[in-house]
């Protein structure tokens, strides 16, 4: 690194200030989650707490039916995440490493698909889903059709996010040297092996970054879930927080406690994958 000691100190100061400003809004919310609603609504969020307890967390866990909804969430998120990264990397591979007639058209298709807003397609999508039958599997497809089934939810997540992931991955793969392909072909490696054993490992930083973001988006999604699934019990964890809000009255502190619990997996994933961003290009590939 060419940065001097002075620039490192500046960086530390700037970042600390930034973080404080960024976290301040959250601080009030975090403290409120340990206090009863009646207290903060009269005294304000930044008043000195009289009562601090875990009641809101216990209530949120129970009333929000966390166990059930978290189970549903992970049944949807894990397969969707793997599928979307796998599918997008395959298309990105084909588009960025090979030139063929539909190369550009395909890339444009996925890139443009990236931009379509959810609201613009939900009505026809619902109509399609309401008419496509699938085998009835307990929990995964209670309704016997795409609508109302977790399988249907997984599929729309994959389809919807694959635009973004294909776009990012194809950009990334284009930066990998062309010599890699040639070296592999000389070695007699099949196309699949080139993809799976050579290109994909080199794409690790981009995959890690995408995995982090995609996990968070799919995990936090409410829009697809609630439009396509009508059974309250089969909704993911985001609905737990909604259930804590009432028709007229919402205990914000309860919702705050619930959302602190809900956010934990996404932060953990970030911390776990962070190191993968760092791995970078393996410098040796094109040199020998």
């Amino acid at each position: 690194m060419i940065s001097t000691r002075r620039s490192r100190i500046f960086a530390q100061l700037f970042l600390s200030a930034m973080v404080i400003v960024w976290i301040l809004p959250i601080a009030g919310m975090v403290v409120s989650s340990f206090r009863p609603y009646a207290e903060t609504s009269t005294q304000g969020f930044f008043s000195f707490p009289d009562t601090l307890n875990l009641d809101n967390f216990r209530d949120a866990w129970g009333r929000g039916n966390f166990v059930r909804h978290w189970t549903v969430t992970f049944i949807v998120v894990i397969p969707a995440l793997f599928l979307v990264l796998w599918f997008s990397s395959m298309v990105a591979f084909a588009v960025s490493r090979y030139s063929w007639r539909f190369n550009i058209a395909l890339l444009m298709l996925f890139t443009a698909g990236n931009l379509l807003p959810q609201q613009a397609i939900i009505i026809p999508l619902f109509e399609i889903y309401n008419r496509v039958p699938i085998p009835t599997i307990p929990l995964l497809s209670d309704s016997g059709e795409l609508r109302g089934s977790l399988i249907g939810l997984i599929l729309i997540h994959v389809a919807f996010q694959s635009g973004f992931c294909t776009f990012v991955l194809s950009n990334y793969m284009k930066t990998l040297p062309k010599e890699l392909n040639e070296a592999a072909m000389v070695d007699g490696a099949s196309l699949w092996r080139q993809y799976w054993q050579i290109i994909l490992p080199l794409t690790r930083p981009a995959l890690a970054a995408l995995a982090t973001l995609e996990f968070a988006w799919i995990y936090n999604d409410y829009f697809w879930a609630v439009a396509l699934i009508q059974k309250g019990d089969n909704l993911p964890i985001t609905s737990s927080l909604r259930n804590l809000s009432g028709e007229f009255f919402t205990d914000d502190n309860l919702v705050a406690a619930g959302s602190l619990m809900v956010v934990i997996p996404t932060v953990l994933i970030y911390i776990a994958l962070r190191k993968q961003f760092i791995s970078g290009l393996s410098v040796g590939a094109s040199k020998g």
Binding site: L115, Y270, I271, G280
Partner: protein
């Protein structure tokens, strides 16, 4: 390429493409079709053709909503490009130095990106902007009856362009949480991009005695071009599609955006999904205009 390889390639491309097209593009085309009809959402036999009437109404009877929304989307784009994205990139650059505590910095700045929408609404509506108890009014000493600043409700213009259109105060207040989230998002992407810069190139620049700024400009920035492109496209997408923050803060007067117009006209009990589809089609058209422009300029450069 061997025959087997060709088949594998077709499968690798075919399955994802089929999924993407059938669940995203086919509905999009149906939406386009629906925009020329009137439909209450129930029986398919009640769909009735009405040509351009939905669009005509959007540009006449409902024009104030429409132009206000388009302008607000443009304001979002402006602030994202001028403040949020550069700030995210700068922070990623600082964090790239592997300082002590970098995990904490990164996790805390990323936090707003993954926090549930319900609580983001609570934080900004109640904790920050509440007239009586919010952080801002408390810090400014303006919590007394009659002396409260109305952050989210006051739609007076901060920048007035015409009699009815401009940047309203409360929309500016909404842009704060947008920036709050966008910075962490850009930071993550840029960090992945920065990490992929070849370290030997950086060392070479250092040996040459270049200052940090020169090294950045001459060596690091050019190799980050692919990342920059991704970041730019993402910023535009976020700006055009913005919905969640405005919706969770209950869309006060003067804060309409295009995706909200779509949702209002298509969610439960709407009497004409055709008009909602027309709004959606306009939004799609704007997104496409950008993509076509972007792809053409990218491919032109590659040919050059």
């Amino acid at each position: 390429m061997t025959g087997r390889d060709r088949r594998v390639l077709v499968a690798m491309v075919g399955v994802p493409t089929f999924l993407h097209v059938s669940l995203i593009w086919v509905p999009a085309i149906f939406s386009l079709g629906l925009s020329f009809t009137k439909w209450n959402g129930f029986s398919l036999s009640r769909i009735s053709w009405r040509g351009l009437k939905n669009y005509q109404q959007i540009f006449t009877v409902f024009e104030k909503d429409f132009y206000e929304a388009v302008l607000n989307n443009l304001w979002v784009l402006f602030f994202l490009f001028v403040i949020a994205t550069p700030l995210g990139m700068f922070i990623a650059y600082l964090l790239d130095k592997n300082l002590r505590g970098t995990t904490i910095y990164q996790s805390l700045l990323y936090f707003p990106v993954v926090l549930s929408l319900a609580v983001v609404g609570f934080i900004w509506k109640s904790v920050i902007y509440s007239p009586r108890q919010g952080l801002l009014n408390t810090a400014l000493g303006r919590t007394a009856e009659g002396n409260q600043i109305d952050w989210l409700g006051n739609s007076d213009f901060v920048i007035q362009l015409t009699e009815n259109y401009g940047l309203s105060r409360n929309f500016l207040a909404l842009i704060a949480p947008l920036i709050w989230q966008h910075v962490g998002y850009i930071m993550v992407l840029y960090l992945a991009g920065l990490k992929s810069v070849d370290p030997s190139m950086r060392e070479a620049a250092g040996i040459d005695g270049a200052t940090e700024w020169q090294a950045f400009r001459k060596v690091i920035a050019p190799s980050l071009r692919p990342v920059n492109v991704v970041i730019m496209v993402i910023t535009v997408i976020t700006g055009l599609r913005v919905f969640d923050i405005v919706d969770v803060l209950n869309n006060p007067t003067g804060t309409d955006v295009l995706s909200l117009l779509v949702t209002e006209a298509t969610s439960g009990e709407s009497s004409n999904l055709g008009r909602g589809s027309a709004y959606a089609t306009i939004l799609l058209a704007l997104c496409f205009a950008f993509v076509v422009w972007y792809l053409r300029s990218t491919f032109k450069e590659e040919e050059a």
